[in-house]
Every structure is written in C-alpha cells, then in structure tokens.
C-alpha cells in the first residue's frame, strides 16, 4: 500500500507547461506537506538555469541524465527550503525526460532524492521525530507522452527501493489551510572560544542548538490551551498562539542539573573566551497546517520548527555573507549588525505564502528577482509583505495579512535602492 499524493491543479498546469529542449532533461522540486495518512503537493519549481562561472562544461556523460548538475539541484532545494514557512517542505523531485531515457530515469531520481535530502538537513537544528514521514516522492514525466510515473523512496534507508504511489490532482488543496503566526523574542548570549572563523561558526552553531532544544521543549499554547495531545485543530479557530519556555535558557544546564543531585554541581562554569556573540530581537514566524483532521501538537511542531529555522537561516546567511565580504577578518571586529529580515510573499498557489530574507541594503525589487529565480514565479513588488520593525526608534508598521501592505516604512523611503545583482547565497554551512 503506497502513499497518496494529493496535488493542486496549479501544479498540473505548471508541469504541463514545462518546455524541455529536445533530447534534454528538466529537473525540479516538489513542495508541500506530509501527514501520516496522506501527502499534499502545492508547489512545483524547475531547477533554475545556472549561470556558469567559467567556461562551459563539455557534456561529460553518455546521456543527458549524467549531465544533471546534482550540486546545483541540491543547492536549489536548500534555497527553496529556506523560503518555505513552517509545515511546508521539499517533498520530492520531478524529472522530465525524452522517452528513450525513461528507463534510466528511476536511477537518476533515486540518486538525486537522497542527495537532496542529505544536503537539506545539514545544519538543521531539529531532528525528525518518529512520527515524521520520511518518504519522498519522485515523479517522472515523459516529455513526449506526458505520462507520469510516481514513486517514493524512504530517505532514512539508503537501501530502500522505489515504492509505487498515487498522484491525484485536486483543486484548491491548500485554500483553507489554517495559518499560525507568532512573534518570538530571541536573546541568546553565545561565548566564542578561539579566534578563527571556524571557531566562531562552531560556537554559534552550538549556542543555537541549545536554544533550539529549549524551543522544542517549550509549552505551546493554542488559544490558551496546551497543544500536547491528539485533540484536533479546527480550522478558522486558531486565534492565539503562545510559547512558554522553561526559564533556564540553556538546555544543557537544565539537563545537567536535573540529572544529578543539585549538590554535585557546586560551582559555575567559567570559560575564557575571545569574545561573545549575541543574537537579539524579535522574529516573525509562520506555519501552515493541512486541514485533513490535523492535530494540535503537529501544529505546535510546525511552528516550533519555523521559529528555529528562521533564526538559523538568518544567522547562516549573515555569516556566509560576512565570510565573503570580510574574508578572513571575521571574528576580529565588533559591533552590532542587523540580521537579514524576513518578508512574505504570496505563493503561486492561493492561500499560502513563501518567505525570503532581505539584507539591510536590499529592497523588495531584489526579493522579487530572487522569487522569480528560485520559485519561478512573478511577484509584484507591492505584494511583498515586509513586516518592518523598529530600528533605533522608528515606527513599527506591521501587517500579517498576505494581501495588503502598502505600508512603506520610513526606512525604506530613506534607503536609496542600490542596484546590486541579487545574491545567491553560496551555501557555506556550519
């Protein structure tokens, strides 16, 4: 008995609109949400064209399948993952091939899907739970007959073989999915030992990991009641969402002290550090949950993961950027710098949104370009929802609706639009 994928009709439209040069292949991602009973696919995006940075690579393989740039596909998957709010993730891949390559397509898909999964989870600060679905979908499309072949692989088991799965189109899959939002205050003090940039990265990663555990262990209240059990979340009734964390802000300490008799640890932990880092501010989080009898605790899990992801992504991006700009100077200078801020934009499929991160010197035009490149969709700039916040005393303008936001913050008006090529985060990871 295989899995069932319920796919939005807009995805069908997108896939049938794909054009592959004769004899060549098209790869792409499928995104949506998995639940134990069934899976929902709400987005398909072909792998963007890669700007080659040097001479064109001569086709090396015997077949176009060998020419698939695995590294680029996985990089694209990672970028797209960052753009998906909580509850949504990359569920699989599609591959369009000419009929003569259909037989070998399965092997190619299997290689790709494992590579993508491996790359996406690197640097992630939360672990999959037992309940998480680890099947990923591979969709093969014949460019001539348009026939679809849908299979799944269990990415937890490298030896797993393809299992058949159902692929069904439906309208408005996600049109009434409840959206959960919250703003979370973050204030992490992270000591830095050693002075190389690798050290800085490791310390930051350790500090974030401890914080992530605190978030995972936090009490989540939906409409004022704890979202612990299997009680169902009724769409349209989510009014408030809060997180209550245990007061000790490092999981490590609590773990240490609850395991042993209190009397055993009698003195403080002191480290001589070459400096410290502090991540501080308010992050806006968003998650979607399907409406096929969702459980409250799954909703809690989705938003918790979004909180962790958004902080982690911003810090990652910032440090990557620093590495490019400051080179080996990183770790030696001090000061306060803004982390990239989150903006939301409507997804090609109605009812949901995607997000992106803006550096202080960027504008919504840059965001629009990135959305075009990474998600293959046109987004009018005025639809990009910037939830701007205070920077040194300026007014807050904030909106959490997808459709609106003609709010132009004063900061926006003052910053000249700097024409820079959109950034492609080079993917340096911790």
């Amino acid at each position: 008995m295989g899995r069932s994928y319920f796919v939005d009709e807009a995805v069908e439209e997108y896939l049938s609109g794909l054009q592959a040069a004769p004899g060549s292949c098209v790869t792409g991602l499928l995104a949506g949400q998995s639940s134990p009973q069934r899976d929902f696919v709400v987005l398909a995006v072909q792998t963007p064209h890669r700007e080659s940075e040097g001479q064109l690579k001569a086709p090396k393989g015997v077949s176009p399948l060998d020419d698939i740039d695995v590294e680029w596909v996985t990089e694209h998957a990672k970028q797209v993952s960052r753009m998906l709010p909580g509850g949504l993730c990359v569920l699989g891949l599609f591959l369009v091939t000419p009929p003569e390559l259909s037989k070998d397509a399965q092997n190619a898909l299997k290689r790709l899907i494992f590579a993508v999964e491996k790359y996406i989870i690197k640097g992630r600060l939360w672990e999959l739970s037992e309940e998480d679905v680890t099947d990923r979908v591979t969709l093969h499309i014949c460019s001539k007959t348009k026939k679809l072949l849908c299979k799944t692989f269990d990415v937890k088991d490298p030896k797993s073989s393809a299992k058949p799965a159902d692929w069904k189109y439906q309208t408005g899959i996600s049109s009434s999915w409840p959206m959960l939002t919250c703003s979370v205050e973050v204030d992490l003090q992270i000591p830095v030992t050693g002075s190389s940039s690798d050290n800085t990265d490791k310390c930051m990663k350790d500090g974030l990991r401890r914080w992530a555990k605190q978030i995972e262990a936090a009490y989540c209240l939906i409409n004022g009641r704890q979202a612990l059990d299997d009680s169902e979340l009724i769409s349209g009734q989510v009014k408030t969402l809060s997180f209550l964390c245990h007061v000790d802000s490092t999981f490590e300490l609590r773990h240490m002290f609850e395991q042993s008799e209190l009397g055993e640890r009698s003195s403080a932990l002191v480290q001589v550090c070459s400096g410290s880092m502090r991540v501080r501010g308010v992050v806006h989080c968003r998650a979607y949950i399907h409406n096929n009898k969702p459980k409250a605790r799954h909703a809690a899990q989705a938003i918790k993961r979004d909180i962790i992801n958004t902080v982690c992504s911003r810090v990652e991006m910032f440090l990557e950027d620093l590495c490019i700009n400051e080179g080996s100077q990183k770790g030696l200078c001090s000061g306060q710098q803004a982390l990239p801020r989150r903006v939301f934009a409507p997804m090609p499929i109605s009812g949901l949104s995607v997000c992106d991160y803006m550096f202080p010197d960027e504008s919504t035009a840059d965001v629009a370009e990135r959305l075009k490149e990474m998600l293959d969709c046109e987004t009018p700039e005025e639809d990009i929802d910037t939830i701007f916040s205070i920077i040194s005393g300026f007014e807050i303008t904030d909106s959490q609706d997808d459709d609106s936001s003609k709010h132009v913050s004063e900061i926006q008006a003052e910053n000249p639009k700097i024409q820079k090529p959109p950034k492609y985060y080079a993917g340096k990871l911790f």
Binding site: S183, V184, Q189, Y219, L262, S266, V270, C273, F318, S334
Partner: protein, 462 residues
C-alpha cells in the same frame, strides 16, 4: 494557625555574565547587573506559573490571568486542587485513611516558565559581536520558593507572594554569590527551607554549595538570633531542611512509623516521645543478613540516623562492618571481631556513638526486667530534654524505645517500641498492624533478665 497548603515554586534560572577582569573592581557591578536583569525578568509580565500535573497556567504579573476560566484572582487557593491530577489516580490503599489526617499540609508544586511570544518591543533581530577577551560565567540558580497558606487564602495573594519570594531569593542569592566569590570561581547558591517554631514558620535560607555546615556556624548564629531560636540545638543545618510531605525519601527507609499509631489511653498519663526524625533500621536491610545477631546494630543505626537527620553529624549511618571496626579502633574488640556475627550491647553502642559521632550517652542499668516499670520518670525526663531514641539490651534481645506514656500519679506506664527483629520489607501497614512498631506494657520485658539502656545525649551545638 495550621496551614493547609504549601505552594512550592521551582525553576532553574541561568545566571550569565561576561567579566573582562574577574579580579577587577568592575566585576562586582557586572555581577550585580546580571542579577538585576534576572529580577526584572521575574517581575515582568512574561513570567508564567504552571501548576504541575494540571492544565493551570497563571500569569501573575498581568493583573492575574489564568488559563482556566473559573480560577480568578479572587478564587480561594484551595480551588486549584480540583484541577490537579494525582500521580497514582487516587490512593491505592484505602485503609490508609488514618494516615491522611497525619500527612500534613498539601503541597502544590509549580514551575516557572517564561513566555517568549509576547515580546516587549519589536526590535529587528541583530547580531552583536564583542571581540575582547572575557571570562564567560554560566551558573544555574536553582530557585525554590515555598509559601505556607490556609485554604481560603486568595489565589492572587499566593501568586503575588511567590513573585515577592522569587525577588527576595534572587537578592539573597546575589549576596551569597558575591560573598563567596574568589576571582572567577563562583559557588552555586542553594536554597533550603526550614520549618521553624511559630511565628517564623516556613523560612528559606540560601547557602553556598560545597561549603560544609561546619564552616557556616557564624551564619547560623546570626539567624538563630534573628529568629530567636534556642542556641543549643540545630535548626538550620542542611540536614534540618524541611521535608515536603509529598516527597519520597530516596533511600527507601521509613521515617517515624510511630506517628501512625494511636497512643494508649491511660488515665492521668502524659505522652513523652522521641523528638524529630529517625529512620527505621531492622534485620535484612541493605542486603545484610543479620537475622539472629544484628538487633543491637540495627538499633544503633536507628539512633545514628536520628543524629544525622537532626543535623548533628554529616556522616552516613554506619554499616555493621563500620560499627565493628569502630569498636576495634577504640580497643574494645580484637581485630577478628570485624566480619563476625558477634552480638553487641549497650556499652558497645555507647562506645560507637562516641567514636563515630562524637556523641556521649548515659547508661541506665536495671537488674530485673520488672524494674523497668519503675523507670517512668527517668525515661520521661529523657524524652523531654534529649528526645533521642533509646537502645535497650537485655536477655537475648535488643530493642529501641521511642517514648513512654506515663502517669506520675499512678505509675502506670507503656513503652513505645521499635523492633529491629523485623525481616520484611518497608511496608508501613504490616509494621504497624503487627506491632513491629507498637505500644507495649511492662510485661513485654523479660521479668528476670537484667537490662542496660543507652540514652544518647544531644550535643549542645547549632
């Protein structure tokens, strides 16, 4: 005033600070600033109390909000009980009803949480980097506040009281941390609760971890003065810490099984009992099969447990081997005594108490068991002034006397006996029902044998 409830709030707050120079003048104010920040956190509106094993959540600093509609600030704090699920879903042994009335106040356990989704401001996230060398200090502050209240006390008053207690405890902790700090070496401040005689009631004292009681004498002297406590017996040693009624004793020994008994109803007689807490030691415990020879050793262990739990000594209750070794060490026995199954008597008990605990004892000799009935006055006096358990040996048996009911006028007497010959498990029901801890009349003693009693004396110390 009997308090029906103790509200106990716990949470481990992290203390963190960065010191440029731990020995410099600045460091004290940096440390104080960190404590100040923690006090702000605790009085902020983001603090949440959760009642363990219940869906109840209370925001004490927002004009009292609770997650359960029927619990408002005007609710009596006793109303909280209906929301708490008990661990075992109700008492398993309904015949334990008579224990309920003696089990003391109900403890309501609460934990401290912090809401992170109501940010005070809306500042955009930023990364602040500092690149000077620093000492990064991290330490857990094990907050533990307890409030004794009556059942009709308003819930709001309880919560406000707990917030105040948190604040005060942080201030106390700051004092202890600063006082015992040496450069970048910090000692964890630990709170201990003590049940003092009225009007003081339940108080909390913060002691530095790792500093033994012997070095905290001056601190205790100050507190004894402050609370007007007698200066000849300990109230504030760590071992004297209040034992919360809902906490199990981790070592598994029963404490004070005698409190579950009703004293005999003798006309004109008064009750004189052991004071404080002891553990019941008896045959076969600790995987030692001493059936038939170890009774005096067990009685001695019971007495040692009393001195440990009243805070007079920090040494653990000695094993049979340690007891035997002590007797060899004082020259009372040959080395081959160690590991043997030889009996000991009151004189040996006295010697070991002296050797291992520094405790002196009086010996009372009775030439015939029938004479014990005439020792009412001496025993009554003993329990009134010293209040320690008494070991009695004679014939072929040793027992522990925990108290007497004695009439000065009629001379009638009954003895509260703790019997070390019990070989079963720590089952309170059996022990009380079958009289392993029970009231006996003068006929209990072998009327013809002679007896020695060892009456341990309290050291005069705090």
């Amino acid at each position: 005033t009997v308090c029906d409830f103790i509200f106990r709030l716990k949470g481990i707050l992290e203390f963190a600070c960065q010191l440029d120079n731990p020995n410099g003048v600045q460091s004290q104010s940096t440390i104080s600033k960190s404590f100040q920040d923690l006090r702000s956190k605790v009085t902020s509106k983001n603090i949440v109390f959760t009642v363990c094993n219940s869906p109840v959540l209370i925001w004490p600093n927002t004009g009292f909000q609770s997650s359960v509609e029927s619990l408002t600030e005007a609710s009596a704090c006793g109303d909280i009980l209906q929301w708490i699920e008990s661990d075992d879903g109700g008492s398993k042994k309904s015949s334990k009803k008579k224990d309920k009335k003696k089990s003391g106040p109900t403890v309501v356990n609460m934990k401290l949480l912090f809401e992170v989704t109501e940010p005070a401001g809306n500042t955009a996230p930023s990364l602040i980097r500092v690149s000077t060398q620093q000492h990064c200090v991290k330490m857990p502050l094990p907050l533990d506040c307890a409030l004794s209240v009556t059942t009709d006390e308003r819930l709001e008053t309880v919560c406000t009281g707990l917030v105040e207690a948190l604040n005060k405890q942080l201030a106390d902790m700051e004092e202890v941390v600063l006082q015992y700090r040496k450069g970048s070496s910090f000692l964890v401040p630990q709170p201990f609760h003590f049940q003092l005689p009225e009007p003081a009631g339940l108080i909390t004292v913060v002691y530095p971890a790792g500093v033994p009681d012997s070095q905290l004498q001056a601190v205790r002297e100050d507190l004894h003065r402050k609370f007007e406590l007698p200066c000849d017996r300990p109230y504030l040693r760590r071992a004297n810490a209040f034992h919360f009624p809902d906490a199990a004793y981790k070592d598994g020994y029963l404490r004070n099984p005698h409190i579950h008994l009703n004293p005999p109803n003798i006309e004109d007689a008064k009750l004189y009992l052991v004071q404080g807490v002891y553990s019941y030691h008896h045959y076969m415990q600790d995987h030692v099969d001493d059936n038939g020879w170890g009774c005096a050793y067990r009685s001695l262990q019971t007495i040692c447990s009393w001195f440990q739990q009243q805070g007079y000594v920090e040494t653990a209750v000695p094993t049979h081997t340690q007891i035997q070794q002590a007797l060899v060490d004082v020259g009372d026995k040959e080395p081959r005594f160690v590991g043997s199954r030889q009996w000991i008597g009151s004189i040996e008990v006295q010697a070991v108490l002296n050797q291992l605990l520094g405790v002196t004892s009086k010996i009372m000799f009775v030439s015939q068991g029938s004479e014990l009935a005439t020792k009412g006055r001496e025993l009554a006096n003993h329990f009134q002034t010293e209040g320690t358990p008494v070991m009695i040996g004679g014939g072929v048996l040793a027992h522990t006397i925990l108290g007497v009911v004695w009439s000065e006028n009629t001379g009638q007497i009954r003895f509260l006996i703790l019997d070390p010959h019990y070989t079963g498990g720590e089952d309170l029901q059996t022990i009380t029902d079958k009289g392993w801890c029970g009231w006996k009349g003068p006929e209990f003693w072998d009327q013809n044998a002679y007896y020695n009693l060892c009456l341990p004396q309290r050291p005069k110390s705090i």
